[in-house]
Amino acid sequence: MNPFRYILRRLLFGILVLVAVVTVTFVLSRSLGGNTVVAWLGKSASIHPELAALYAKEYHLNDPIPVQYYYYVLNLLHGNLGFSPSRGFQPVAEVISITLPFTLQIAFFAFVISVVLGIVLGVLSAQYQHKPLDTCIRAFYLGGYSSPPFFVALILLIVFAFWFRLLPTGGAFDLSLTPPTVITGIPMVDAAIEGNWPYLLSSLDHVILPSIALALVTFGVLTRVLRSSLLDVMHSNYIRTARAKGLDENSVFFKHALRNAMISVVTISSLMVTWLITGTIFVENIFGYPGMGQYLVIALAAEDYPGILGVTIVFAVVIVITNLIADILYAVVDPQVRLG
């Protein structure tokens, strides 16, 4: 397949998925509390009928459903996600623009740790197949991906923050430090640009435990797939040919087998990223990390519907975008797609 056509197809598919998400949240927003205004104003809609009427007019909530849907999508495209009762009626979009960067910080570090850990352990596990090291690694990743993220996060918190007191117990940075001025919106990047080293170090210190917790539940997906595809590849004909040509075992493994096995890793990475992003909800809550996941948990407890629906949409957008990146990466690594 032509790589551009392939990417275009994935792009269109991503848009289709987003349309589906928005349609689902639209349907949900109409079913909340028997009153559509609730989805924009929360439960307080019933306390202030005048305000509710104003909103119904503003958002075309009393028009026929197709018209409502049109204005719903239009509102979303304008970044209008309603107002969040649990945040003193701050616009949901504003809350998300503050919290999302923190979630991305955790997700980024968790992703890096996950990939490194996943590949190293996958390679070791395949090289030492059926030996004690392989058994240990398999037990480790099985335990990891079978554990709920909140369980792993709790264990790490108890052991490393409370028992050994090695790392902070919560938050995203030392609150006595001055945060960097907003440049990109992602605090750690801004701190690095500005040269605000104390803040950056403190942020790193705070992000380590949550991102390790998250990586521990996700790396197993990668290790498992890499191990089994390495084992498959090592028994294939072209590896036998490479050996027969007299290549030494190391270049057979790293140049031929690993490169090929990585294709399946890229395929599975979208699954891993989805787990990783949804996992932030739990990990942030346990570590008191002020990201979107923690906001979601607070919104859930407060029945802050605009917040819940807004976060749902943004989580879906983030997941669709990361999956799209994985798809494009796939087109780059897989010669069957790349060469058409």
């Binding site: 598919f13 289709l16 998925v17 589906a20 998400v21 689902v24 949240t25 949900l28 079913s31 909340l32 099985l142 335990g143 079978s146 554990s147 709920p148 993220p149 909140f150 369980f151 709790l154 264990i155 918190l157 108890i158 409370f162 989805t274 992003i277 949804t278 909800i281 739990f282 346990i286 948990v297 859930l300 407890a301 029945e303 519907y305 819940i308 629906l309 976060v311 749902t312 989580f315 879906a316 997941i319 669709v320 999956n323």
Partner: protein
């Protein structure tokens, strides 16, 4: 299978243990017999926040309730949700998948693209949003998960049905004048069932994992009713004074997931070897 793989045996024991426990608790509940060491909801059956001891094997919580009793009575929730969600997904997937495979053409294309889109939706986040709309409760979470859980089963069923469709006995059935619906019911479902069941066994663990997440977020039982995920979130405030309180329920969830994964892997390997 168990003779060949120690892992599958361990998984089988854990899975069977959990299923049995759920069955016993449910039957005892119907008969009105208490099988737990203490009443799981009654407060002050022991001193609050007591560490594990012979009297309270898993300790007591902040209100002096027995943790072991609470964990035991919560078993049917996770088991019921996972079996129901996986069962419905399997049935829906088998029907849509094999109809798509046998009808082919535009219907196949439409059904499978729809499946792809639902498959790409973030499961936990969407289940949560649907769950919020339906309102908290075990049954509502079950429904929320059922709505989004079927796509992988559909894909699997379609692939298997396509493989079956070209075999001689299906051809023979068609030539003998059997209609598509009857062929599907009499032959196709039976032959794709094994593959789907193996996948379902592996999948039970995933449902438990996602359900425990929803429960942790407070979308499942209402207090004082216990649930594994809910226990972790309500006890996490005591993690310094009584770390066993959130850790034990979390460990039980992980154990259940490990059990079903090992069992599913074992069954799959055994079938592939044959």
């Amino acid at each position: 299978m168990f003779r060949r793989s120690k892992e599958a045996l361990i998984g089988g024991i854990i899975a069977l243990g959990i299923l049995l426990m759920a069955a016993v608790v449910t039957v005892a509940g119907i008969l009105g017999v208490r099988i737990t060491p203490y009443d799981p909801i009654q407060q002050d059956v022991g001193p609050p926040l007591a560490p594990p001891s012979l009297l309270h094997l898993m300790g007591t919580d902040n209100l002096g309730r027995d943790l072991l009793s609470r964990i035991i009575v919560a078993t049917p929730n996770d088991v019921a949700v996972s079996l129901a969600v996986v069962g419905v997904a399997l049935a829906v997937g088998a029907v849509i998948g094999s109809v798509a495979a046998f009808q082919g053409g535009l219907l196949d294309e439409a059904l499978m693209r729809f499946t792809d889109v639902v498959f790409a939706l973030p499961a936990l986040v969407l289940a949560m949003a649907i769950g919020v709309t339906l309102g908290p409760g075990v049954t509502n979470m079950m429904i929320a998960l059922m709505i989004i859980w079927w796509p992988p089963y559909t894909r699997l069923a379609r692939g298997e049905a396509l493989r079956v469709a070209h075999q001689n006995y299906i051809e023979a059935a068609r030539l003998s004048g059997m209609g598509t619906a009857r062929i599907l019911f009499k032959h196709v479902f039976r032959s794709i069932l094994v593959t789907l069941l193996v996948y379902a066994t592996l999948d039970i663990g995933t449902v438990i994992l996602v359900y425990s997440g929803l429960s942790y977020l407070g979308l499942s039982v209402k207090p004082p009713q216990p649930d594994w995920g809910e226990m972790v979130s309500s006890y996490q405030d005591y993690l310094i004074v009584a770390p066993w309180l959130p850790v034990i329920p979390g460990f039980i969830i992980a154990l259940g997931v490990i059990g079903f994964s090992l069992l599913g892997d074992g069954i799959r390997d055994a079938l592939e070897a044959r």
